[in-house]
């Protein structure tokens, strides 16, 4: 037995989920860009044929760009009184129509936010997030998922994975308990068929062997290549903000005489201020050191610590970089070197 959903019913699913109180996150237009949006109306959801990758990943719906993690008002004698941030009042949410690469970022982010101290602000959303992804039937210009160890139809992080079939239909692969509950709850929108019809999945040849990256990184912390690569990096952070797995953040207070809040904001290792000490000393004082950190964090440190690379090969960093600093090309160069 296989499960099928039509494009029309996928839209209906969004409609019914909205009605049932879900926050529905889907690719939608904003000016002339495609972005992930908490849609108000199922009509906003773009048909899967009209985009490959939205501008940024849906990361901000589990890890917001800016979030209050502690709210306080000044009481008697100026003593702060905490108003505990809401740790369980989030509605259930569903991401519909993301690509498998973005979905795969969730198991990666789970590691950093879940090790040792469990970050409640991430997990309160993460646990209530269901992911219905759509396998890619064509590849975008920056895409390198097959080089990063994934595929246009990877299942990691998805609760239901849809694959395009003929006639505006999708074969639905239910992958988790969360997915099963959704497929049951909205069962009338899914159709059972005898066998999975032929599906369309993009072919994408790997550009490099990812297994060759870490052995070289292990031995080449100091290498002239870093300067050569990063000489043109402006440190703008576009790569980090678009990245589905970048998770570094800053913490700042905003307050006045009445009270204030402590905020957790997205940050980027390409900024010089990221590591600058109060004394003025900076352990990563030049741009190539910061670019090296970005590559090492993703392809060496994260892998050593958590058993996963912090890259899914979505290629946004490559596609969006204002100076064409092509991570895919950098990795290709590294993989071609003798460790």
């Amino acid at each position: 037995m296989a499960t099928i959903i039509t494009a029309e019913n996928l839209k209906q699913l969004a409609r019914e989920m909205l009605k049932a109180g879900y926050r529905v996150i889907a690719p939608a237009k904003q000016a002339d860009l495609v972005v992930f949006k908490a849609i108000k109306d199922a009509q906003e959801m773009l048909p899967e044929s009209e985009y490959i990758l939205p501008q940024a990943s849906f990361k901000e719906f589990v890890f917001p760009r800016c979030e209050c993690i502690l709210r306080y008002r000044f009481g008697e004698g100026g003593k702060p009184v905490f108003e505990s941030p809401n740790l369980d009042g989030e509605p259930p949410q569903a991401v519909i129509g993301c690509r498998p690469c973005d979905a795969a970022s969730l198991p990666i982010l789970d590691k950093i936010f879940g090790w040792d101290y469990v970050d409640p602000f991430y997990f309160k959303r993460r646990e209530k997030t269901a992911v219905i992804s759509v396998a890619c039937s064509r590849a975008g210009e920056g895409c390198f998922c097959t080089s990063a160890g994934y595929a246009p139809d990877s299942t990691a992080g998805s609760d239901i994975l849809l694959k395009k079939c003929a006639g505006g239909k999708y074969a639905a692969e239910v992958l988790s308990d969360k997915g099963r509950q959704l497929a049951e709850k909205f069962g009338s929108l899914f159709e059972k068929v005898e066998a999975t019809p032929p599906v369309e999945v993009a072919g994408l040849n790997p550009a490099f062997d990812v297994e060759k990256i870490k052995p070289w990184l292990d031995k080449h912390f100091d290498d002239p290549l870093w300067l050569e690569i990063a000489a043109r990096c402006m440190g703008c952070g576009t790569c980090a903000y678009g990245c589905p797995t970048c998770h570094c953040f800053d913490m700042v207070d905003e307050g006045d005489l009445a009270g204030g809040c402590r905020l957790k904001n997205w940050d980027t290792c390409s900024s010089a201020l990221f590591t600058k000490h109060g004394s003025g000393h900076n352990p990563r004082s030049s741009q190539e050191q910061r670019y090296r950190q970005r590559v090492l964090h993703k392809f060496k440190y994260y892998l050593e610590k958590f058993g996963l690379r912090a890259c899914v090969g979505c290629g946004r960093c490559t596609a969006r970089c204002p100076v064409n600093l092509d991570l895919r090309g950098v990795l290709q160069t590294i993989a071609g070197k003798q460790a």
Partner: protein, 284 residues
């Protein structure tokens, strides 16, 4: 992934009352802080070398080591230099005011595990004496459990020395070999200490590596030049401990900035041996 997380706010600090303010040196202050919550005051424990995030509500958080001895219960001390937004705000707090504290975080100097029963050489440079001071008091409060104690402390100039009253106390205490030094030119008329940079003075004082552990902290440049001296004197790299203090925001392995190579200073540190540091890239 199934998380059976009990969702508690890991970023919420303890509230603490400023009990005492001590001006150490121009721009450098020590705050003595008492836990406001009775139960926390009773149960709070830490190990020498651990750090915390101190906050002024409305201004933000800042990371410093805990500068008081782990043997002293119910309160904490931190020493800081005013350099930015938060330390300037901390500078403005008065006795009786409330500040925040999150911690204790990170690893510690292995006093109980390794150092007890041996000779200890403490080396502090500038405000880097703060974490070393925590270990010194923890050790002096249980003096009988350690053998010979040597303290070498250097600052740029005599007025920039921190914990001046305690330096005088240590200098007078029998059983402590105490050496203080200032950089050339930092010695006022009548200066009774050494003159010279810490690495030079350590070499001259030549503490014996026999059955000894060395604990040092100072600015990155000071650590860089003192380590080779200790190695030359014969201290094995496994017995030289230092503490690295990279910039941090969360203190608990999430925010991603304090790493030296693959090690998070906030989790795998801040205390490292010279042997461990040899394996790390120079990112501190």
């Amino acid at each position: 992934m199934s998380m059976t997380a009990t969702l508690t706010n890991i970023y919420a600090p303890y509230l603490m009352t400023v009990d005492e303010i001590i001006d150490e040196a121009p721009g450098i202050r020590t705050l003595k802080l008492a836990f406001q919550d009775e139960a926390v005051r009773k149960d709070f424990a830490f190990r020498a070398g651990q750090f915390g995030l101190y906050s002024v509500f409305g201004a933000g958080e800042c990371v410093f080591c805990i500068a008081s001895g782990a043997t002293r219960k119910g309160y904490l001390e931190c020493s800081f230099q005013k350099v930015g937004r938060v330390t300037n705000a901390l500078r403005d707090v008065e006795v009786g005011d409330t500040v925040g504290f999150r911690g204790p975080y990170g690893n510690h100097f292995p006093l109980d595990e390794k150092i007890k029963g041996h000779n200890v050489v403490f080396i502090g440079m500038g405000i880097g004496l703060a974490p070393v001071r925590s270990v010194i008091w923890t050790c002096l409060d249980e003096r009988k459990q350690y053998k010979d104690v040597t303290i070498i402390y250097g600052a740029r100039s005599a007025d920039l020395m921190v914990y001046k009253r305690e330096l005088a106390e240590w200098a007078k205490t029998p059983g402590i070999k105490f050496v203080k030094t200032v950089d050339p030119g930092g010695n006022p008329p009548g200066w009774d200490g050494e003159v010279g940079f810490v690495p030079t003075i350590v070499e001259r004082a030549a503490p014996s590596p026999e059955d000894a552990y060395a604990i040092l902290c100072g600015p990155p440049i000071g650590i860089k030049f003192t380590l080779p001296v200790l190695l030359k004197l014969g201290f094995p790299p496994e017995r030289i401990y230092t503490t690295l203090e990279n910039r941090m925001k969360c203190g608990i392995g999430k925010c991603g900035r304090c790493n030296v190579g693959g090690k998070y200073v906030c989790k795998e540190g801040p205390v490292f041996t010279a042997a461990e540091m040899k394996e790390l890239p120079a990112e501190y």
